[in-house]
């Protein structure tokens, strides 16, 4: 009986559950909003550093996206080595812009967006890269026009991985 009491006493009732619950709180400014991220679409919104719902790899999409950069000769640009921007950061930015466009257009499937809408998100991402995130690196290396390519991965019937590559911006 003492053992059971000890086990219950060690359960993180106070600190653990309180902080765990706070991790799912959504705080938004303009419009000010306070909510709970316990829904499948809202859990990702529960981010308020230092708290987080840690949603990474919480869903394995059947058509994930990644992006890469090339120059006008179609030679890839090492985004971290040359621009100081991780490919994952670039992808997250593009993904975020895609979701903004998709929401405006009233759709949830970002992979099925029309090419012109994807290009809109691509251009915002490239502007962010040139004007804010890697301005100095691009200027120092005198890098000309940068092309952003989107790759959608899928599994075919034989479980082989297929890639659909689309040019989504040039700046």
């Amino acid at each position: 009986m003492q053992n059971v009491r000890n086990l219950i006493a060690r359960f993180p009732f106070k600190t653990g559950i309180t902080v765990g619950f706070l991790c799912f709180v959504i705080v938004r400014h303009e419009p000010t909003r306070l909510g709970l991220g316990f829904g499948k679409d809202s859990v990702k919104e529960a981010e308020f550093y230092p708290l987080s719902s840690f949603p990474m790899y919480s869903k394995f999409s059947s058509n994930p996206i990644y992006v890469y950069l090339t120059d006008v000769n179609d030679d890839p640009i090492a985004c971290h080595k040359r621009l100081g921007v991780l490919a994952s950061e670039l992808k997250k930015k593009y993904d975020k812009e895609l979701r903004i466009v998709a929401k405006r257009e009233g759709t949830t499937s970002i992979s099925k967006l029309a090419p012109r809408l994807k290009a809109e998100a691509g251009m915002v991402t490239l502007r962010w890269l040139r004007k804010e995130r890697a301005t100095e690196a691009i200027a120092e290396q005198n890098i000309g026009p940068i092309l952003l390519h989107e790759v959608i991965l899928r599994r075919d019937e034989g479980n082989e991985i297929t890639k659909a590559i689309t040019l989504v911006g040039e700046l």
């Binding site: 993180p12 653990g16 705080v27 550093y49 394995f60 996206i65 962010w128 995130r133 599994r155 479980n159």
Partner: protein, 317 residues
């Protein structure tokens, strides 16, 4: 915790764990060294603004943190408070300053248009420190949280450490894993395990993103993992289900030292395998588990004592 119990009872016995002063000192030194890169404000030098304000930056303008003079000042403040923390001088104040500093830096990084979780577990452990020392204040043990003369003298290393603070840090590490597990169940609507075959696409994605970071050949282990998961999907589901179980039930590890050591090693191994396959570092997770859960120095001492006892028995025989 009573360590005298033998056999299987020793494994399931739970209760308050007492920590020696030397364990707490080693934990603090190791944590300060691991946490330092997340407190070094000079890594903000690459940023030009806060294009997508996140967290506190939505309410308060934090662009002042991008000025180079300010960054050097923040780094100095962080170093001074890390030293205070290691020396156990006004620990509640030191940990609060470190938490606020780390949170502001993390907020600026996450306000660049993409959310990163790499160093978030460090903030969780800092929250654990602040909460733990807050509990000491509530228990009218303010001297332990606010003492100016708390630094360890050699004689004090044998005394007990504030178990509430250490337990609070351990809890917060567990919280990070449990929350991550719950998010997986919510976002996938309970189908996380059944969607495991799609992880091959994630592996290929991270492999290619690693390539486009540097244009150097990506790790071949991912190719091997893709082939294995495609060939043995059921085995892959069992493997990843075990990982999800480790996350969801991470709080079970808090029951005693042995559970925490075994669970901590299992989680570190999970991170090591993810690093090999997906090229994701999990540097902070691995180290904080090793420091606060596995508690390597304690087990080294246990093994050394066992050897000494066996040696004494052999000599007397």
């Amino acid at each position: 915790m009573s360590e005298e119990r033998q056999g299987w009872r020793a494994w399931i016995h739970s209760g308050r764990i007492e920590y020696a002063g030397y364990e707490w000192l080693l934990m603090r030194v190791a944590f300060a060294m691991v946490a330092w890169p997340t407190l070094d404000a000079r890594h903000l030098a690459n940023f030009k603004g806060l294009s997508d304000p996140h967290g506190m930056a939505q309410f308060v303008d934090l662009t002042w943190m991008l000025e180079s003079g300010v960054q050097a000042g923040i780094a100095i403040v962080a170093v001074l408070h890390l030293i205070l923390y290691v020396l156990n001088v006004v620990p509640l104040w030191a940990c609060t300053v470190l938490l606020v500093t780390q949170s502001l830096l993390g907020t600026v990084v996450n306000s660049q248009g993409a959310i990163h979780h790499t160093s978030q577990i460090v903030s969780f452990v800092l929250i654990g420190h602040v909460v733990g020392y807050g509990i000491l204040l509530c228990k009218k043990r303010a001297s332990e949280a606010l003492d100016w003369r708390g630094f360890e003298l050699p004689g004090r290393l044998k005394l007990s450490a504030p178990a509430e603070v250490i337990y609070s840090c351990q809890q917060l590490i567990a919280v990070a894993y449990v929350v991550s597990g719950i998010s997986k169940l919510i976002r996938s609507q309970g189908e996380w395990i059944s969607s495991i075959p799609n992880i091959v696409l994630q592996l290929e994605k991270t492999r290619m993103m690693a390539y486009y970071n540097s244009l150097e050949p990506p790790p071949e282990t991912a190719v091997w993992a893709i082939a294995m998961i495609t060939s043995y999907p059921v085995l892959a589901k069992v493997f990843f289900a075990a990982g999800l179980g480790l996350e969801l039930f991470a709080f079970v590890a808090l029951f005693n030292r042995k559970f925490m050591a075994v669970w901590g090693i299992a989680l570190i191994m999970m991170h090591v395998s993810i690093t090999q396959i997906m090229n994701l570092g999990f540097f902070y997770n691995k180290w904080l588990l090793a420091i606060f859960w596995v508690n390597v120095p304690f087990w080294c001492l246990v093994v050394a004592n066992l050897k000494l006892k066996r040696g004494a028995v052999l000599v007397s025989a």
